[in-house]
């Protein structure tokens, strides 16, 4: 297999509140390959949203490197590209259309309009909706859809530009068990059939079980396949983390 699509190497991120430093991410290392559906489970304040934001280039790490397709997302001294998610990364945005009467095929097609004709954009929007089992929602409007349907549509929108990597923060939020299982199955199928890599962050461990790679995040520490080797004792220095500045 070639180089990983996304690679975090010893990434750290610290928030400062007054004199106190809080390590949001500590020494986080993992890789995601093409077509891989990876999930990170972590409770509130475990650092998972920060991790996804860094993967999207929306927030910069304090330590370590993040490579996307082998290229450093944050070359030294460069500030984070706020609002500038790389084109080949899809970011699930939950907000819904600003115009309430907008039909969903239009809503999904919008990200494509600066690149292709309206006709072509609608065609690809339909394909994206189909991918997430939502082709029957093409004519629907946001206000009359359920949470599960909205999630399907925003995932279609995030992937309509056929990104190499899809990032979704808590895609199963507000869904019942049945809908969650279906949605996770759709995400897995999308990764396997299109070769798009997917990284989701979920609050429940049970929600990551449809993925190819399972990881947990707790107190900024990532555990999972590519983390510690078993039985290896890692140097632990007390006070190394939340030390006062």
């Amino acid at each position: 297999m070639s180089a990983p699509l996304l690679a975090f190497d010893r990434v750290g991120r610290t928030h400062r509140r007054g004199f106190v430093e809080i390590a949001v991410l500590d020494d986080v290392t993992f890789e995601i390959n093409e077509g891989e559906f990876a999930a990170i489970a972590g409770r509130q304040a475990s650092g998972k949203t920060t991790l996804l934001r860094i993967a999207a280039g929306l927030d910069a790490p304090d330590r370590g490197t993040v490579r996307f397709r082998g290229r450093d997302l944050f070359p030294e001294g460069r500030p984070p590209r706020l609002g500038g998610i790389p084109r080949s990364i899809g970011w699930m945005q939950r907000s819904g259309p600003q115009i309430s009467s907008m039909r969903m095929y239009d809503y999904v097609a919008v990200p494509l309009l600066e690149e292709v004709s309206y006709r072509a954009a609608c065609h690809r929007a339909m394909k994206a909706l189909e991918m997430f089992g939502a082709d029957d929602l093409a004519e629907a409007v946001w206000d009359e859809m359920s949470d599960a349907q909205r999630t399907q549509v925003v995932l279609a929108r995030a992937t309509v530009r056929e990104p190499a990597l899809l990032l979704a923060d808590d895609p199963t939020a507000g869904l019942n068990v049945h809908d969650r299982e279906i949605l996770l199955g759709l995400l897995r199928r999308a990764a396997e059939t299109t070769g798009m890599a997917t990284l989701i962050a979920v609050p429940e461990i049970a929600d990551m079980l449809r993925s190819h790679k399972v990881m947990t995040l707790s107190d900024g520490e990532l555990m999972g396949e590519s983390r510690h080797k078993l039985g290896q004792v890692v140097d632990f220095r007390p006070g190394r983390r939340h030390g006062s500045a």
Partner: protein, 183 residues
Amino acid sequence: MSVRQAVLGLVIERPGYGYELDARMTERIGSWRHSGTAVYPALLRLAQDGSLRERVERSAHDRVVWYEATEKGRTEFKAWLRRPPSLLPLRDDLHIKIALADSDDLAFLIEQTRAQEQLCLDRLGRLTDAGIEPEQLMDPNVQWRSIGHVWLKRTEVAHLTATIESLQEARMLMKAHLRRRAR
């Protein structure tokens, strides 16, 4: 641990021989059994007690001992199945270590919680397809045993999940304690 009853249950389900039963045990309830060689002694003891009957099958270059359940075996299994349960013990070395440790030991135990969480994740990774279609559970033609099999896997997932959460909590508490002491 009732390896005896598990083996008996599998033979009642359908007769088998040692190797096949061992494989079936791993497939059906692999997570639950730790010792890889417990099936054979259990078969011998069950046969000695008259709960199983041996049937030797000889071919030109092989000799296979088949086991099938006797009436006594079926009665024993039913009685075990219907016996009321007692509260499950929480029996893990690491729990006791964490509860009884000194502050000096915490750095090692933090590392052990990491290793343990990693083991849980490895196991979860192998169980990732344990999800069952909800319609399937409602299907009247599905045998109870296949539902029970899936239920067991889901239970294991729930157990691993709870373990991971308690390990994370222990680690956070231990790290916070060490930080406070370092100041």
